[in-house]
């Protein structure tokens, strides 16, 4: 027997199914080629990930993922139609076909991957909940934080993670809850708490807003897993592959030492991995419906992963986030891409 909740669920899933069936009548790749632009959903403003610069151009790590896909598909990294989405409407926009790639610092979780009709194409940034403390306290590890007053933003998963972590480690803490991130920084700055907790990428953005950023440090301990990455609609595996391998191309390029500056010299390289990635021997884009120079276009126009990381969130950016777990596997990090062959 159907109860009310089931009925609602059934109606909404059939609505979802309808939406995805009707938008799958032509392939996303064909639609994109015809339109001449990749429709990409980005955040409506997140430091280092997507924000308009002084000239009104979108820039950030999430934005560069969109640009990489556009370079692979259309040969032009600027051929992107950006749609700014807030946290609530992002999945609807992807499901309903308003955007074709959702690159909006979205955490890859089971629920999202399995029930929303979307597929995560990989991880562009390994984020996680961290702690920012005053340098004067001389604390170097999260395990020394017992008894601390901690500023948190209300209603976020951060609150839960924090409680879990302190319970698991048998420590006490004094939560001081604020509504917005600005108030949270204000509270920390005013000395209402000793510690501020949030995702590391956000902590970095909050730190430069302090009067004296150098007086605070971000601990290297991370207490939650927040893998952020681009996602696409389910049901179009060709498009899924394109986004996935655009991301892998960025990582492989870094691993092979190819950057936007030396990519033209690298065309002469004898290294078989480089030859294959740049499409000098056989077309590895064929299976995705792309030209042989798909990866060359990505690297020459957008750069490799380390270039993207450094200019948006890394040491060349105001955020100054260390590579940490986002380093390549060869440097002890987690970023690992399957080989191109």
């Amino acid at each position: 027997m159907l109860n009310k909740k089931n009925l609602v669920l059934a109606v909404s899933t059939s609505a979802l199914a309808l939406a995805s069936i009707s938008s799958a009548h032509a392939s996303t790749l064909e639609d994109t080629m015809e339109r001449g632009a990749v429709r990409c959903g980005v955040s409506d403003g997140l430091p280092g990930f997507s924000a308009p610069d002084d000239d009104g151009n979108w820039q950030g790590l999430d934005v560069d993922v969109c640009r990489a896909v556009a370079a692979a598909v259309l040969g032009d990294a600027d051929a992107v139609d950006y749609v700014s989405l807030n946290a609530v409407e992002r999945f609807t926009a992807l499901q309903s076909g308003e955007v074709d790639v959702l690159s909006r610092n979205t955490t890859w979780t089971t629920t999202r991957d399995t029930t929303l009709g979307i597929n995560f194409a990989g991880v562009s940034f390994y984020d996680g909940q961290g702690f920012m403390i005053s340098r004067d306290l001389g604390i170097s590890s999260a395990s020394e934080l017992g008894g601390a007053a901690i500023c948190i933003q209300a209603g976020t998963t951060t609150e839960l993670n924090l409680a879990d972590y302190f319970r698991a480690n048998d420590m006490e803490f004094d939560p001081i809850v604020f509504d917005t991130s600005e108030q949270t920084v204000g509270g920390y700055q005013a000395g209402r708490c000793d510690v501020l907790t949030s995702d590391t990428s956000q902590l970095a953005a909050l730190r430069i807003q302090l009067d004296d950023p150098d007086a605070s440090v971000i601990l290297s301990d991370v207490i939650s897993k927040e893998p952020l990455g681009p996602s696409v609609r389910q049901g179009d595996d060709e498009w899924f592959n394109i986004v996935k391998w655009s991301l892998f191309a960025l990582l492989n390029a870094e691993e092979l030492g190819i950057s936007s500056e030396n990519v033209d010299e690298m065309l002469e390289s004898e290294n078989p991995n480089i030859v294959r990635l740049l499409g000098q021997d056989g077309n590895y884009g064929e299976g995705m419906g792309l030209e042989a120079d798909w990866a060359y276009n990505i690297i020459s126009q957008v750069g490799n992963y380390s270039e993207i990381y450094d200019r948006n969130v890394g040491m060349e950016s105001p955020l100054q986030i260390e590579r940490g777990v986002n380093a390549l596997w060869t440097d002890g990090g987690l970023q690992y891409a399957p080989p191109i062959r």
Binding site: S22, A24, H25, P47, A51, G56, L210, P318, L319
Partner: protein, 366 residues
């Protein structure tokens, strides 16, 4: 008998009655308690204003291009300066900004023309403003004709978008609101119940819910190849919401007109539309000017809610600019600027409505 043939010349009132000192005495220091309150008040003003002025003007930085040009001792208007064109046009391509400029110029000229009583041809200008100008504005802003490059609505933003949303909302909501108000007072059962249901439904739902429905639910129900522009969705939502409010404001005005007015008009043999158009509505609308302008001003400020469906109105684009990692931490400057812009527009609307009230005042006011 002593008799003075000359008039005694007029003398100015004594110093203790006129002049600033006397005014001070009469209004601020006419007793120990009032004097005390005045002093406390002055002290509070001093506490508040001196730091504010120091922050906003004296210690502020005005010239530069990046955050390094800011001393951070006072406001950093460099940020607003660097982003100014973005705050006005949103993400509209910079080489195309002449298009919104023309529209801005046309928009303000038309408004001024209609607002200044001396200028002639009001009827024609009004017709042009309502019928031709929106089409011209859309063609010019969106492009796609006459070799103009297409600028999709996702790139419209800033003050331009705020004005667009507010103007369309106001102009569309007023006639719909009048119709709904008349319909609600009508004796025809279907018309009446339709209007009642419409008004009560749209007025009973928060605007933010309507915008969410329009942006989150609507796309799921529409077939995949039909994609209604977000801006259009927001405009429709705002208009429907606003017309329900407007209807109730106008109905309030209609209630206040004595029944005799309509009965007298009917006795003269006027039709329903003539009775309404010539007798009842002119009186009702005049009386409701404060209410209508109140609704307009609240609509103007409510347009900021489109931020939650990813449109960058004035406030939205300020917030987006604040999340640029090169400009983090200038939220106060950004918000002060946005507040100031909103204040200018709302205050001018309010002043104009007061002027209109005086001008249309025919001696009926108590």
């Amino acid at each position: 008998m002593i008799h003075n043939r000359d008039m005694i010349p007029e003398r100015p009132a004594p110093k203790s009655v006129i002049g600033p000192l006397a005014w001070l005495r009469a209004n601020l220091f006419n007793g120990p308690i009032n004097s005390l309150f005045t002093l406390i008040g002055l002290y509070l003003v001093y506490l508040l204003f001196v730091p504010a002025i120091q922050w906003a003007f004296i210690n502020a930085d005005w010239i530069g291009t990046s955050r390094d040009d800011c001393s951070r001792e006072g406001a950093c208007w460099v940020f607003v300066n660097a982003r100014f064109s973005q705050f006005i046009y949103g993400l509209y391509p910079s080489e195309e900004t002449w298009r919104p400029n023309i529209i801005f110029a046309g928009f303000f000229t038309l408004i001024a023309w209609l607002a200044i009583p001396r200028l002639p041809l009001k009827r024609w200008v009004a017709a042009f403003a309502l019928l031709a100008f929106p089409v011209i504005a859309f063609v010019l802003l969106h492009g796609g004709y006459f070799n103009l490059t297409v600028v999709p609505t996702s790139q419209w933003g800033g003050l331009m978008l705020t004005l667009l949303l507010a103007t369309v909302g106001m102009i569309a909501a007023l006639p719909i609101g009048i119709m709904l108000a008349l319909g609600r007072r009508s004796e025809m059962p279907i018309v009446k119940s339709f209007c009642v249901v419409f008004i009560e439904f749209w007025r009973g739902v928060p605007l933010i819910t309507i915008l969410f429905m329009a942006s989150v639910m609507l796309p799921l129900f529409l077939p995949g190849d039909i994609n209604i522009d977000r801006l259009v969705r927001a405009l429709i939502g705002i208009t429907l919401f606003q017309s329900a409010y407007m209807a109730e404001v106008i109905r309030g005005g209609l209630q206040a007109i004595p029944k005799g007015q309509e009965e007298a008009a009917a006795a003269l043999g006027m039709t329903y539309w003539k009775r309404m158009g010539l007798i009842v509505l002119p009186q009702a609308l005049k009386m409701m000017i404060p209410g209508i302008v109140n609704t307009f001003i609240s609509l103007f400020k409510d347009t900021t809610l489109v931020m939650i469906i990813g449109l960058f109105d004035l406030l939205g684009i300020v917030q987006a600019a604040l999340s640029d990692s090169r400009w983090l931490g200038f939220s106060l400057e950004g918000y002060v600027f946005a507040a100031f812009m909103f204040w200018i527009f709302c205050f001018s609307m309010s002043r104009y409505s007061q002027y209109l009230e005086r001008k249309l005042h025919t001696g009926h006011r108590n």
